[in-house]
């Protein structure tokens, strides 16, 4: 074991210490011991000692394994090769202990015994093994029903919120949609063939618990079209203090339905006169504030589905983007054919026009929304913009003149 005086200082304090945890394994795993040694060195040098990986993988796949090597292998031979294995997680991150123990057994035998539950994309991350262990590890995983996740310029492992498995707000079955899409895209997930990464995340309601709007090119967010369901007796119970605000998620003892709920409604579409809560549902923008504050009184409507938003990514290269609305509503019934078709069509358009390492959201900005909508065969809904353009530089195509000749009008008089 290496001496780790700096890391040892991370063993105190009330939050669980990853150093204490790693030290347990370092006694039986040379790779874990050397990993602690390298980390201690980085804490001293204040720089990383990892090199970007070469091409490593399992036979027939171009993704799922990320090559990783150390720059001082002579000092830390146990982590000379320290490749990552991404294992595609089950929808909603539910497990039985039997399944987790099987995964642990595989990783104890073929890797460092270190892992993340889970990585940012959603996969189980097995952290650190050598090239010869990859194929046997993969064989053991598939024998137990597991497969690798995506990496590189591939369709990445989709992930989703807990959805209808445990949430009364889920407007569609996020876990089944996640599973269906993962299965539908297996080829694209394991064989990188896109200009860059392509991610899908699904949240059951506009609270967006998996941050789909910020972290996935394809963001599917549940929504309802009809009226919020109201239990007026429960509203009174909130007003009277018998029910706790936000289901007890706060220290506030009692809800003031007017001040806390209706006055904070962003569209001012609600009112409460002390007896009856009224909602002008046609003007509701589905923000979820009132529902979140009074979970026993209010529920989303029953005509439910999802919006499809597109384009988000982290700041490289043009600056961070959030996804924007492409399809405001689609019904979301298994086997989710409409969603599959949109995702595949967009990938085709992007693969044809995108430059190397250009995310689909960047391509849309470069070529314009008209090229995008027409390229993927969709009509533009007004919900796609927050505001129309303020500049007068809009363009006309021959097809516009043709449409006018055929009778298109720009205002009904």
């Amino acid at each position: 074991m290496h001496k780790t005086p700096l890391l040892d200082q991370l063993e105190s304090g009330p939050w669980p210490s990853f150093i204490t945890d790693l030290k347990r394994v370092a006694g039986r795993k040379k790779s874990a011991a050397d990993l602690l040694g390298v980390l201690e060195r980085s804490y001293k040098d204040k720089i990383t000692h990892w090199k970007h990986g070469g091409i490593v993988g399992v036979l027939g796949y171009g993704s799922g394994i990320i090559g990783r090597y150390i720059d001082i292998p002579e000092e830390f031979p146990g982590v000379e090769h320290f490749h990552t294995v991404r294992v595609n997680q089950p929808s909603g991150w539910f497990y039985t202990t039997k399944a987790l123990r099987e995964l642990c057994e595989i990783w104890d035998e073929h890797g460092s015994s270190l892992l993340n539950m889970h990585g940012s994309t959603g996969d189980i991350i097995f952290l650190g093994t050598t090239t010869p262990e990859l194929e046997p590890c993969f064989a053991k995983l598939t024998a137990k029903g597991w497969d690798l996740g995506g990496s590189g310029s591939a369709f990445r492992s989709p992930s989703c919120c807990v959805g209808q498995a445990r949430c009364e707000w889920a407007c569609f079955d996020t876990m089944e949609a996640c599973y269906e899409l993962t299965q539908h895209m297996q080829f694209e997930l394991h064989r990188p063939s896109y200009p860059y990464k392509y991610k899908l995340k699904l949240s059951g309601c506009p609270n967006d618990c998996v941050a789909a709007v910020a972290r996935a090119d394809c963001s599917v967010i549940g929504v309802w079209k009809d009226d919020i369901r109201i239990d007026q007796a429960a509203v009174k119970a909130y007003a009277g203090g018998e029910l706790k605000p936000r289901g007890g998620a706060t220290v506030y003892p009692k809800l003031d339905v007017k001040a806390d709920v209706t006055d904070l409604c962003p569209t001012y579409c609600m009112s409460y006169d002390g007896k009856t809560l009224k909602i002008d549902n046609k003007n509701c923008n589905h923000c979820m504030h009132c529902i979140s504050l009074m979970p026993q009184a209010l529920r989303p409507g029953t005509e439910t589905g999802a919006a499809f938003l597109l384009g988000s990514h982290a700041p490289i290269l043009e600056g961070a983007q959030m996804s924007w609305v492409i399809v405001p509503f689609m019904p979301m019934e298994a086997p989710f054919d409409e969603l599959k078709e949109i995702i595949v069509n967009i990938a085709e358009w992007w693969s044809e026009h995108g430059k190397n390492r250009e995310r689909v959201g960047e391509l849309m900005l470069r070529l314009g929304m008209r090229a995008f909508f027409q390229g993927v065969g969709l009509e533009p809904p007004a919900q796609t913009v927050r505001t129309p353009r303020a500049n007068p530089f809009f363009f006309w195509h021959q097809e516009d003149f043709d449409a006018e000749a055929a009778g298109r009008k720009y205002i009904k008089l």
């Binding site: 991370l10 939050w15 394994v25 997680q89 497990y95 209808q164 599973y179 910020a214 998620a249 700041p315």
Partner: protein, 356 residues
Amino acid sequence: MSERLTDIGPPHYDKFLPPVVKANYGKWKYHELLEPGVLMHVGDSGDKLFSVRVGSGRLITTDFVKDVCDLADKFCDGYLRFTSRNNIEFLLSDQSKIAGLKDAIKKMGLPIGGTGHSVSNIVHTQGWIHCHTPAIDASGIVKAVMDDLFDYFGSHKLPAQVRVALACCLNMCGAVHCSDIAILGIHRTAPKVDHERLRHLCEIPTTIASCPTGAIRPHPDKSIKSVVINEPKCMYCGNCYTMCPALPCFDAEKGGVALLVGGKVSNSKTPPMFSKLAVPYLPNNPPRWPETVAAIRKILVKYAEGANKWERVGEWVERIGWEKFFEVCEIPFVFQHIDDYRWAYDTYRTSMHFKF
């Protein structure tokens, strides 16, 4: 090789759902928090599911997973799940087992919480444990910050939930750009070209093409097969280093931490928001990054004091104005706060709606 399985995808989640979840799937009526970290979901049927949420490191070992499994076997019939913020949730249908489970969790040294108006677990990247472009470590800073904010994990005393995230370089594989408080590792110096190594290791056209700002060009002396960097154009992203290891961008003394605040992804009241630059630089100071820990505490405390009920950090800052935010948090305003990248104009104030 004919028996080799490929493209089977993950197991169907159905195999892992507790019976109470299967029975009430899509038929949940409401939920309540019995206390911080303990959720109760009630189905239309009247069935109840209890979830006990526990914080853990993201970087863990199989030993730890097996310990967690022992608890789930003893109290939860072997059922558990993980959240999108690296928390563990023990799932029970028998309320009488909660007290025993909580005792066992505490005995393991794990914190219960992360629900409601808390600071939940910090989502983060790999840092010095595994990545080739980080400016800072990830797990170590997260440990230091969560030690300091520990009290906020197991309580609901904030005006709203506060989501903290860490990315160890601006590639942000942790996508921290919509977090209430984002901890970001930054390089501040351009890569140093090692001409001798570059000649052997790197492909010059792909190296040049990797730069998002066009700051790399071929060496003007044609006899030197290498590149030169126009340093004022470099924004320290490390993309070139990914393509070419002869362009290291690390500077042990100048690299460090930036804090961005006010992001969110929920649509509640206000639309999702990006996190914005609050503190442009704090020193890279392992093993416990005291300046970063103190700065986060200061921002969090000022938010807790100043925000209205239900207001997220970003909503509070937008209401009081950024000039007031800098004032109350005692953050000097400097050139780095003013956007001068691609979409800067949107951030300039074009109204008289400001404060003194």
